[in-house]
Amino acid sequence: MNQTQIEFRNVSFRYADDQPWVLKDVSFTIRSDQSVAIIGHNGSGKSTIAKLINGLLFPDEGEIIVHGTSVNENTIWDVRKKVGMVFQNPDNQFVGTTVRDDVAFGLENRGIERIDMIQRIDSSLAAVRMKDYLLHEPHRLSGGQKQRVAIAGVLAIRPDVIILDEATAMLDPKGRQEILTTVNEVKQNHPLNLITITHDLNEIISADRVIVMNDGEVWLETKPRDLFTKEEALQSIGLDVPFSAKLANELKRLNIELERTPLDQKELLDALWTYHLKT
């Protein structure tokens, strides 16, 4: 299981010859047992990475290898069987006229038999807790519900990798929470390689590894906890750490050193109320 899933080898990309490079000589590997977050502010090239992985775009230089296959025009359909993607806009990726039809879309494309299809639709909708909405039309669903349907559509094709390309960016806080909960549940129950692309550092907490992109280059590769200590450096590239990490960093400046940088408010609280016991 512990093998290389995705590898970028010196990848450079630009949209047109007269335009600046979006990615400059990017190299990294993602192992199949890791969930990885790719962060960066707008225009840092993070979404381009997602589109390169499943062959919606091709690199100008370098090579991308997904599960041992080099991504090029002959292999994209094989690669797309392994890589599922959820996009930013909930409306613009909903193809079917009802929830059921939309989840079926990816299965229909792959020529799955009808009986198998019905079963897969049921189980993947159950996984995102949208089974009660089987026959709902998209305009009767909230943004968060639509994104959950999109996740179900991806799960139904049983991919090895799921890429969430800013899947929560257009949702309200409630919808965002819905998606994060759903994704965590899915991750526990399915052997999946999850790649989260975001500009919100609150969403990288559960990742094993973080790749920070800046200006088309890999700026840093680290663990979420270590990243949160680099508050000022992050701010200089347009990213903001969550409140709990900010407070911890501020306390550190006052020589109150917490045992470890808290990832969320609960960890912060625990660290604070147990602090005195340890000194």
Partner: protein, 265 residues
């Protein structure tokens, strides 16, 4: 809001007509439209009217609702009647209206043509009343399937129709949002001379078009990412099936047609 989002005039119900396969309905309606023109006397028209009325009743849709759907065409039906009344010169002169002679044949002709018109519209509206747009799309796709041999893009056409159906409510909601945004900036959609009101639509349509194009691009990308590569090798979730009830419908319709040919002159 919700009421303005109903597409077409479909009325949900569990009637026999609703449960028929959409292909059955389309074939029967198509044949009916053709054979209405074979009726040529009061007996045959009466026979077809009886059949149409029987069908309308078995949809279990309230007659008032069906009649409401026909309101825009009443004028045409009445107009057709009077046109034939004044133009046809057959039979004896019965009386004169302001100097115009009215022939006995004209009255018969006017009534028959009006009934024909009425039957055509009543019967075809039965399709949209009892069939969801997506069912109609599926039926068109399967019925046109033989045309694939002549490289007619049947699957693409059906996909286009179903995507349009899916995006109608989305774009309507968006149009409403844009019109509110523009109204809050002082665009007046509701008062003033017609010319101004038509001009006021421009700031509504331009953003709507721009966003529709953006949506199309993103949707195309999402479809590709989900493995869409045209109709080849694709399976379908929604399956149409001809059942016993469809055979009954065809048998009844054959009986109606036989009746028509016996009764006509």
């Amino acid at each position: 809001m919700a009421s303005s989002l109903i597409i077409g005039q479909y009325v949900p119900s569990q009637s026999m007509i609703h449960r028929l396969d959409p292909r059955t309905k389309m074939i029967i309606i198509f044949l009916f439209v053709v054979f209405v023109f074979f009726a040529n006397n009061f007996m045959s028209y009466g026979w077809l009217t009886l059949f149409a009325a029987f069908t309308a009743l078995s949809t279990k849709i309230r007659l008032r609702y069906i009649a409401k759907g026909l309101t825009p065409v009443w004028f045409l039906i009445v107009f057709t009647f009077f046109l034939h009344l004044f133009v046809t010169h057959e039979g004896d002169i019965l009386f004169r209206i302001i100097g115009f002679p009215i022939y006995s044949g004209a009255i018969a002709q006017g009534i028959q043509i009006s009934i024909r018109f009425f039957l055509l519209i009543l019967f075809t509206s039965m399709l949209t009343l009892t069939t969801t747009p997506i069912e109609i799309t599926d039926a068109i796709e399967t019925l046109l399937n033989p045309l694939k041999r002549f490289r007619f893009p049947v699957h693409e056409l059906a996909l286009m129709m179903s995507i349009s159906l899916r995006f109608i409510p989305t774009l309507m909601q968006e149009a409403e949002k844009i019109s509110k945004a523009q109204a809050s900036r002082g665009v007046d959609f509701k008062t003033g001379p017609i010319k101004d009101r038509i001009q006021a639509v421009v700031p509504l349509l331009v953003p709507l078009f721009v966003s529709a194009f953006k949506r199309a691009e993103e949707l195309a990308m999402a479809m590709e990412a989900r493995g869409y590569q045209g109709g080849e090798g694709r399976t379908k979730l929604r399956a149409l099936a001809i059942e016993r009830i469809d055979w009954y419908a065809f048998i009844i319709f054959t009986f109606v047609l036989t009746g028509l040919f016996i009764l006509r002159q």
